[in-house]
């Protein structure tokens, strides 16, 4: 028997190899997704069609009733608007902060210390971080002492305390600061690794040609690590679309800080249909980004 014959496998054997992985994927990913999608067309008990919740004389989308809720309910509209705001503010903020620290830390001797400090919040549970920041933002409206750090400082300086978490217009940004604090370290680590991977010859050549550090950064470094920046950005978009812990712990979605995932969580026990419709909607939002990310990854692999 020739070696080629031994090496050749039948049509069945490869499937056997991937069977364990396939099983895991089917049980933990495919089945839940299918089931969630089915439930999103049912009513709040998960047993009857969603159209049953329609009120005669009012707009109704039939079996898509839960999606009508997802897209038009005032609470949901607030949540959608806030998620968009989170994306617009926090994605650039985390990526920019991460890049800035990565570039600057690269130039100093205590780089690992800086990076450790910036990365540290990632080690804290997000719930814990939310609790910590609640104290940072705490306000004492009566005569007792300000125990919140920010208001403590404000009052010491003779200013009025600010209700960071309950004042519309401020509270969403106050929450985003916490998000940035948590996630900037993640961006920094990946971007820093990409920077370290840049061939020194190119940078030296640029310097020899008389490029300033500013030019070096914008014309050489950024273009070269652009693929990584893109991956980090899309990852952050996915993470922020699903943002939940911070809002849940710090405001519970009150005071106009509602986000999509918090609505989903609040409804899961009482209204399966709506909750799963929101889940499917979130999934639909993230899928294109996932595909893009995987696509980029494959391209990069192919280039190597």
């Amino acid at each position: 028997m020739s070696t080629a014959k031994i090496m050749q496998q039948g049509k069945v054997v490869p499937w056997l190899y991937i069977l364990p992985a396939l099983l895991v994927i089917v049980i933990f990913i495919v089945y839940p997704v299918v089931n969630t999608t089915v439930l999103s067309f049912r009513d709040r008990t998960g047993e009857r069609p969603a159209s049953i919740a329609c009120i005669p004389g009012e707009t109704c989308w039939g079996v898509f009733e839960n999606y009508r809720y997802t897209l038009t309910n005032p609470e949901m509209v607030t949540a959608l608007r806030n998620n968009a705001l989170w994306l617009l503010v926090m994605v650039p903020l985390t990526v920019a902060a991460g890049l800035l620290v990565a570039v600057l830390a690269d130039k100093v001797g205590y780089e690992s210390l800086v990076k450790a400090v910036i990365f540290m919040p990632m080690a804290i549970s997000f719930i814990g971080a939310g609790v910590i920041w609640r104290f940072m933002y705490a306000i004492e409206a009566g005569q007792a002492n300000q125990i919140g750090l920010l208001n403590g400082i404000l009052v010491k300086l003779g200013a009025q305390p600010v209700a960071w978490l309950s004042t519309a217009g401020i509270n969403n940004f106050a929450l985003m600061v916490v998000g940035t604090w948590l996630w900037a370290g993640f961006c920094m680590t990946i971007l820093s690794a990409a920077l370290k991977g840049l061939p020194t010859e190119v940078l030296e050549a640029a310097r020899v040609d008389g490029a300033t550090e500013w030019h070096l950064f914008w014309r050489v470094m950024v273009p070269m690590i652009l693929p990584t920046i893109t991956v980090v950005t899309t990852t952050m978009v996915i993470i922020i679309l699903k943002i939940f812990d911070i809002v849940f712990v710090m405001t519970g979605g009150n005071f106009g800080t509602e986000v999509i995932a918090n609505r989903m969580f609040k409804l899961i026990v009482t209204d399966k249909g709506r909750s799963t419709a929101i889940a499917v909607f979130l999934l639909i939002l993230t899928i294109p980004l996932m595909i893009y990310n995987v696509h980029r990854f494959r391209q990069e692999e192919a280039m190597r």
Partner: protein, 452 residues
């Protein structure tokens, strides 16, 4: 040598297994009062002092023989379970029935039991079983419960289409306001007995430069529930208990003019710095426990706080030097036509002689005084009045006895999305939002939550 090693391994394995088994073993059914240590030293002497007709032999065993088993299910454990056992004790002593108790908070456990081997009697903190097991439940009147010992509204609360299926045996009231008698005396304030007097007192306090209320209601994801209790009391004053029950059942829309009126009163008190600590910002940001403390701190930041009975315990914990009745006390919400509170309901699945005898005992004068003596919150039974040994309970009992109705806490009773929408509406209204707009969203959630 090898055998020794093997034996040792076996030993380790056995120890491990037995530890595992011990860990898995269900908690001992603590209840069976037959094996209970002697009852607490409550007056075992002749109980009758003020009401001569109540005498000990009033317990009717209704043919239940000694050794008969009675299965009961409840959510109580620990100190609460001790109290219910103390209440069962006279009955057990008189009839020799042995009580087999199961304690669970899990509605799923109840469901399984009802479908397989239902307990004879069930004590449950909601009336949810009424709709779930309407057909399996026995009519309490037919079992021998004495309806005459209860105000009509108690019986109504547990009746489904003419059948009397549940009876609140234990109740606690929430329609109370805590204050500092010392401060009231210092400023010459008197405890109001009507809503007009309360309103006047509030204005008087403002005129004196005092802050009347501490309305802080921050409570994480449940922020707003304290406001919900306050508004329900205002509704009980302005509209009455039937109106509140209508809100719960959906017969009255949550954006009705009556609700708007209650919100207006509440918002006036809870969003202005002259009426409450820190104004609207204080109300939405101050944790509800801190709100209680502010009335009893030195110097106090406010004169009154509307909070349920647990506030007394919180004050005692936070300020161990303060004395109940002197430094802190409470009065029933003035002018409330009916009380807001929580209740535990007695329901019966079995109609054995022992079950009949127990139902008869618990609804009798004898059962009521045992309940009051045990101090297990309040008994709605008329005969419990005057039998309480605890001063705070006695005072609450007096308020309850004079109540024209009883409504469960709306926020706890309605479907969760409606409850949450209500809290949101309160927060919005306090923060200066338009009341009508805020209530419209809650009314939508009410309709959606109650529709099938």
């Amino acid at each position: 040598m090898k055998t020794q090693k093997m034996l040792f391994k076996l030993f380790i394995l056995l120890v491990g297994l037995s530890m595992l088994l011990a860990a898995c073993r269900p908690a001992q059914p603590t209840a069976a009062p037959t094996t209970q240590p002697p009852p607490p030293p409550v007056e075992t002497a002749p109980p009758a002092e003020t009401q001569p007709p109540v005498v000990a032999p009033a317990i009717d065993c209704m043919g239940a023989a000694a050794g008969d088993e009675l299965t009961v299910m409840y959510q109580w454990s620990g100190a609460e379970e001790e109290k219910i056992n103390a209440i069962f004790k006279p009955f057990v002593d008189a009839c020799g029935v042995s009580i087999v108790a199961e304690s669970t908070r899990d509605a799923a456990v109840l469901d399984t039991r009802v479908k397989s081997d239902a307990p004879d009697l069930l004590f449950w903190p909601t009336t949810a079983p009424l709709t779930l097991y309407t057909d399996q439940l026995q009519d309490l009147g037919q079992l021998g419960a004495s309806a005459a010992n209860y105000a009509g509204f108690w019986v109504e609360l547990g009746s489904v289409s003419g059948r009397w299926l549940a009876l609140p045996v234990k109740a606690d009231i929430k329609s109370i306001i805590w204050y500092s008698p010392v401060q009231f005396e210092a400023f010459g304030y008197t405890v109001p007995t009507t809503f007009a007097e309360l309103d006047a007192l509030v204005e008087q306090m403002v005129a004196d430069g005092n802050v009347p209320w501490s309305t802080g209601f921050e409570s994480g994801a449940a922020t707003g529930w304290t406001g919900s209790d306050f508004i329900q009391d205002l509704l009980l004053v302005q509209q009455g208990p039937e109106y509140v029950m209508g809100l719960i059942s959906g017969d009255v829309a949550y954006d009705d003019a009556g609700v708007v009126q209650a919100y207006e009163t509440y918002v006036k008190w809870a969003s202005d710095e002259t009426y409450t600590v820190g104004g609207a910002t204080g109300t939405v940001n101050t944790p509800f426990l801190d709100a209680i403390y502010k009335v009893f701190s030195d110097p106090p930041e406010a004169m009154m706080v509307k909070q349920s009975g647990f506030a007394g315990g919180e004050v005692a914990k936070q300020f161990p030097d303060l004395e109940y009745g002197v430094d802190y006390d409470f009065f029933a919400f003035p002018g409330a036509q009916g009380m807001q509170g929580g209740a535990d309901f007695l329901m019966a699945f079995g109609d054995s002689a022992a079950a009949r005898a127990m139902v008869a005992y618990l609804t009798s004068a004898e059962g009521a005084s045992a309940w009051a003596r045990a101090g297990f919150d309040l008994s709605p039974n008329k005969w419990a009045t005057g039998k309480y040994t605890d001063v705070q309970l006695a005072k609450k009992a007096a308020a309850l006895a004079g109540a024209a109705g009883f409504t469960p806490d709306l926020g706890d009773t309605v479907p969760a999305p409606f409850g949450e929408a209500e809290w949101r509406a309160i927060i919005e209204a306090v923060q200066g939002g338009d009341i009508a707009t805020a209530l419209a969203a809650a009314a939508t959630a009410q309709t959606e939550g109650l529709s099938q």
